[in-house]
């Protein structure tokens, strides 16, 4: 463990010290605070979260069995779905009425469970499209290269630094479609960083990644915290949650059933019940 990582982990631990391990526990400095978030599809209530806060500068894992509503909750928070009711603040601004692209501009950037690399574009173009506030993205300005060339060069510099860091620099001229599944995950994360987000939302970052790449992906996620970002990620793999999460929120059947440190969560009977279905008779399955 590097010194930087130790410092990051210690800071996150200190920020969460004294937070009770119960659903909806208030945090000292919450970057995201949601209340009464409900999303129903017809009669099915996919998400019904009373209250949740995410501490700034920490890595928070959102876990739960399949169908618990994790991804739906993610989609709601990032503006990719509309809630039936509920409201939330992100970084001091009301965010529940924002559209997905406005959420991203406000500093909350997401990745997808099924990686969305822009396959028929080069890796470098995938990165450049991520940069915010580009003058050349206005149609008329696009016609006058003089207006955007400087900004483009600066974005390119930044993209190359990130590609170097994510070990994709040799692939920069390749089509994104030529990358392996794991490399696409890395590209997606690197691309999200082009927006310089305050909070990054990773939907199953480890899904479909081979074990060799897993470790490096974990390190990259820790680096995000060390660089001052807040990370919220959905994950199934408890080992991974243990290794990198500072805080864990558990969802089951659309509700937030508990929160706590990874150690508290692994000892929590409610979590075990939710995963293993202890309330149900085995014969019913």
């Amino acid at each position: 463990m590097s010194d930087k990582e130790k410092a990051g982990k210690a800071a996150a631990g200190a920020a969460l010290a004294g937070v009770p391990a119960e659903p909806g526990a208030p945090k000292a400095d919450a970057i995201l605070s949601a209340t009464g978030v409900r999303r129903a599809f017809g009669g099915l209530v996919a998400v019904d979260v009373e209250h949740v806060e995410i501490q700034r500068g920490t890595i928070t894992a959102l876990i739960g069995p399949n169908g618990a509503g994790k991804t739906t909750f993610f989609n709601l928070l990032t503006g990719f779905d509309r809630p039936s009711r509920g409201s939330w603040d992100f970084d001091g601004r009301r965010a529940d009425r924002m559209r997905s692209f406005q959420v991203a501009r406000a500093g909350m950037v997401r990745t997808f469970q099924l990686t969305k690399a822009l396959t028929r574009m080069s890796v470098l173009d995938n990165m450049l499209i991520g940069a915010a506030d580009q003058v050349g993205e206005r149609m008329w300005a696009g016609l006058v290269p003089r207006l955007w060339r400087g900004q483009e060069a600066a974005n390119r510099e930044r993209a190359l630094v990130l590609l170097e860091r994510f070990k994709l620099i040799d692939k920069r001229e390749h089509y994104a479609g030529e990358l392996s599944g794991g490399q696409r995950k890395l590209l997606e994360m690197a691309r999200a960083l082009m927006l310089e987000p305050k909070m990054i939302m990773l939907d199953e970052p480890m899904a479909g990644v081979n074990p060799a790449l897993k470790q490096s992906l974990l390190e990259h996620i820790k680096d995000l915290r060390e660089d001052g970002m807040t990370v919220l990620f959905v994950e199934h793999d408890m080992d991974m949650v243990h290794e990198i999460a500072d805080w864990v929120a558990v969802m089951a059947a659309g509700q937030l059933i508990t929160e706590g440190t990874p150690d508290q969560i692994s000892a929590d009977q409610r979590v075990i019940d939710a995963y293993l279905g202890a309330h149900h008779d085995a014969a019913q399955h």
Partner: protein
């Protein structure tokens, strides 16, 4: 039979007025479909907006020619907005359905008898093109020769020795204006698609949710592509109307749209000059086949028991269709498309 004549004719057509109409219509589609992935199946209606905008302004409302051009362009913009606002937030196929239906509605409205005093109903309109041809900067009797290009009493001839291209006084003017527009618009397109704006369009084509997650207002970009592509479609409509000096509603059927698609796919989508090359090849093949077969029948090379003159038209389309299928199998990227791009799964 005179192969030299057939070939000359086909070549004349391959860079002639009709080819320019196809090229322009397909350039507009290229922005929408090739770069942004918008399935606009109503490009014929955008052309109709241009053509009818011009004709109605000049003939029915007695406005000056340039007002007609402005009104035609404005009509295309309005139509793009009307179609785009409800559909661009939905999945891509909705736009396809709505545009194909809208194009039929436009055509039916244009040929409706209710207001045929104004629109001419199914007979269409004429008498709007004089101001355009009055702009021709050379006289009807001008005659000169420059190397292999010559003008004889206002008519243009290009003599390559074995074959000769000839254009009438008016066609020559259509070509001067048409080629100028094609080159200008291709220049603008080249700048646009290589700008960050064009990059966002390509991103939307690949995966619009990803682009949305990166903070881009996808709806606005799609709308810009739809409007600008529609404007280019209207320009194709102007040229179409002026080159024939009349308009008829039934020339704006969905076939017209699908020829634009053929041209685009033939040339290579998402390439700036793809539509231009595609239009030239498409119109060359169409002409060499129909004129070649016609000539062969006239010269009794093909006896009437095998093929009659009236069957040439359908046979040519059958052959072109077959050619299209073979192209999609053996060269799906078109003439100048990038094969590599097709090797990946789109999802």
């Amino acid at each position: 039979m005179d192969w030299q004549f057939v070939f000359s004719q086909a070549l004349t057509q391959a860079i002639g007025p009709t080819m320019l109409v196809y090229a322009l219509g397909a350039i507009g589609l290229n922005l929408q479909f090739g770069y942004t992935g918008l399935l606009n199946f109503g490009q014929a209606a955008f052309a109709a907006m241009g053509a009818y905008g011009l004709a109605l302004s000049v003939v029915a409302w007695g406005l000056p020619f340039w007002w007609g051009i402005l009104i035609g362009l404005a009509a295309a913009v309005v139509m793009a907005l009307l179609l785009g606002i409800p559909t661009l937030r939905l999945r891509a196929d909705y736009l396809a359905i709505v545009t194909i239906a809208a194009a039929e509605i436009i055509r039916r409205l244009a040929r409706a008898t209710v207001w045929s005093d104004t629109t001419g109903g199914s007979d269409g309109m004429r008498g709007f093109s004089e101001p355009f041809f009055e702009l021709i900067p050379w006289d009807r009797d001008s005659t000169w020769t420059l190397l292999f290009v010559s003008m004889d009493n206002g008519r243009l001839a290009v003599d390559f020795g074995i074959f000769e291209l000839q254009y009438s006084y008016r066609d020559t003017w259509i070509m001067v204006v048409g080629w100028a527009l094609v080159l200008l618009i291709c220049g603008v397109m080249a700048l646009l698609v290589h700008s960050p704006w064009g990059r966002v369009l390509k991103g939307i084509r690949e995966d619009e949710e990803a682009v949305r997650s990166l903070g881009k207002n996808v709806f606005a970009f799609k709308m810009q592509a739809l409007v600008f592509g529609g404007i280019i479609g209207a320009v194709a409509g102007f040229l179409f109307a002026l080159s024939r000096a009349n308009i008829q509603p039934d020339t704006f059927t969905t076939d017209f749209t699908f020829y634009f698609y053929v041209v685009l796919i033939l040339g290579g989508a998402a390439r700036v000059f793809g539509p231009v090359l595609g239009a030239a090849l498409f119109w060359f093949l169409y002409n060499i086949l129909s004129q070649g077969l016609g000539e062969a029948i006239r010269a009794d090379v093909i006896p009437p028991s095998v093929l009659e003159m009236t069957q040439v038209g359908p046979l040519v389309f059958l052959l072109l269709g077959l050619g299209m299928v073979l192209l999609l199998i053996f060269r799906p990227q078109g003439l100048i498309g990038n094969r590599k791009e097709l090797l990946f799964d789109v999802r």
